[in-house]
């Protein structure tokens, strides 16, 4: 473990919501894979924007408009450095990761994929990295192929070479939001690149939890959401390699994304604005910048270490206290702090309902990964997911309350 360990119990004080009670019990928030809580610093950055310099960006010559533009572009640089992107022009702000992925599929996909071309996805993918491909596949007559998942919750890469044959683009999640699987993105990206395929990485669960460097990952596009990384709702990020972004046609059309418009046609703006049509989520971008600062100050290594050891503690505790009555779905090491499980034969929805009475928040459902659920042979799982502010005591509460659940059914 790193020397720089977290004191999560005291970190909780940074998050106003974590001080509240639910049904008379202190809240135990274990649903950060769905959305994280927000530290005070992020909320303050947005309040300061609204109270002090709220103005539309890139448009006004007056002071507060200059300030909002400067702060928004500063946030872009923070995000750039956070993921090791070579240039700020490569950082495109969207409303969420889903829009970011749809942008790639629509802009890059429509201009590069022809009938018969193959797209390779993994069974770990979230619907956001599946449905846009389904839509384009139907329109363009593309073939979708799937990397399967083994019993250990990891991708089965034994036949990767064969799967890649004729593939133009690979869509790959860097960390499963169901099983916690850490995916060997670099190896897949290298193999894909050998075949000339482009690699689109869904990093929604990676960027909030691990130090992340797009060059080291070796991918061509990276998508993630602000709300899962201590940032506000309404903001997502697409990073792409400049050469690819330059060649791509615009996706959404409107203000900001143009150089010139006439009744005859239009000239698109430069990167990154070419892909940012309309008034951007200004406060949200600034909030995301503050979230990046917050995470950077704490240190992504320390966060990863903390989650690693807390995950180990959780797996052990659940097994020790609940024995055979709990089944943890995947994944073997390396894995993140997202733990999907079945408990007795109680439906996840009912588990979550009863845990709620103890102040415990866990997700129950298909986690927007139905192909994976089908593969696992379940319709739903219960899922506890950890973040920097979770403690061993949170895990103890979960184990205790799960035990109580059994009494009901």
């Amino acid at each position: 473990m790193s020397v720089n360990t977290l004191n999560s119990a005291s970190l909780k004080a940074d998050f106003p919501l974590l001080g509240r009670q639910v049904h008379g019990k202190p809240i135990v928030y274990l649903d950060s894979a769905a959305t994280s809580q927000k530290p005070r610093a992020v909320l303050e950055a947005m309040t300061t924007y609204y109270d002090d310099y709220n103005a539309n960006v890139h448009r006004g010559a007056y002071l507060i408009a200059e300030q909002s533009t400067t702060e928004m572009e500063l946030a872009r640089q923070k995000v750039q450095h956070f993921i090791g992107a070579p240039a700020q022009e490569e950082i495109i702000f969207t409303k969420n990761a889903t829009e970011a992925l749809n942008l790639v599929v629509n802009s890059w996909g429509r201009s590069n994929l022809q009938p018969g071309d193959a797209v390779l996805l993994s069974l770990l993918e979230h619907h956001s990295n599946i449905v846009p491909w389904h839509i384009l596949a139907k329109e363009r007559d593309l073939e979708l192929r799937w990397i399967s998942v083994g019993d250990d919750g990891h991708l089965d890469l034994s036949n990767l070479d064969k799967l890649l044959d004729g593939v133009k683009v690979v869509g790959i999640s860097a960390m499963s939001n169901v099983l916690g699987t850490v995916v060997p993105v670099r190896a897949i990206a290298d193999a894909a690149h050998e075949r000339g395929a482009v690699v689109v990485c869904d990093a929604c669960q990676l960027v909030p939890h691990r130090a992340c460097d797009v060059i080291e990952l070796g991918v061509d596009f990276l998508a993630f959401s602000g709300h899962k990384m201590c940032g506000p709702t309404g903001i997502g990020v697409l990073w792409g390699r400049r050469e690819l972004l330059e060649e791509m046609p615009p996706f959404l059309g409107g203000g900001e994304m143009i150089l010139d418009v006439s009744t005859e046609g239009f000239l698109p703006n430069e990167l990154p604005w070419k892909f940012e049509a309309g008034t951007p989520p200004i406060a949200e971008t600034i909030g995301l910048g503050a979230a990046v600062d917050y995470l950077t100050d704490i240190g992504m290594e320390a966060i990863a270490d903390h989650e690693e050891s807390l995950t180990a503690y959780a797996l052990k505790t659940l097994e020790d206290r609940l024995g055979e009555s709990i089944v943890i779905h995947g994944a073997a090491h390396p894995r993140g702090g997202t733990i999907s499980f079945a408990y007795r034969d109680i439906h996840p929805h009912d588990i979550s309902q009863i845990l709620d009475q103890h102040g415990i928040c866990v997700r129950a459902g298909h986690h927007c990964a139905k192909p994976l659920m089908r593969h696992l042979g379940v319709t739903a799982t219960a899922r506890a997911s950890l973040y920097l502010y979770n403690t061993e005591s949170d895990i103890d509460c979960l184990a205790y309350a799960l035990n109580e659940t059994a009494a009901f059914f």
Partner: protein
Amino acid sequence: MSGLEDLYREIILDHYRTPRNRGEMECPPAHRGEGFNPLCGDDVVLYILADGDTIADVKISGNGCSISQASASMMSTAIKGKTFADAKAINKAFKKSLSLSEEEEGEADSAEEAETNEDNSVDLGDLQALQGVMKFPVRIKCATLGWNVLSESLEKLNLD
């Protein structure tokens, strides 16, 4: 455990543990309808074997939480042997008991609405136990999942 007992009434847990009319039927002659709860992936499959405009037999399959499966099981006992019209009235009365109008589930014919409103007196019996879900808005979708399949199935059967 405030309210939790209201949700998990004994009769509900009984239907969950021992679901009635569980199974499948050959289609045709039976009619098959299916509904998903997009939020949790639960599904209810409803088989209706019609005899004229009567529900001669009914079977339920699918997977889901205690509320969705118990509600579907209770529904199956409530509609078995009933005419389409009676089943429709029960459906409406049940949704009304959860403060939902059929309208919210689709386009209602308001003339017909007014008419049916008069026989308000459908006896919900055990189904009343499901009113506890009203305190848990997210679970209302679970409770109504099977009933929405029933609405659709009856509409299709009426067209045949």
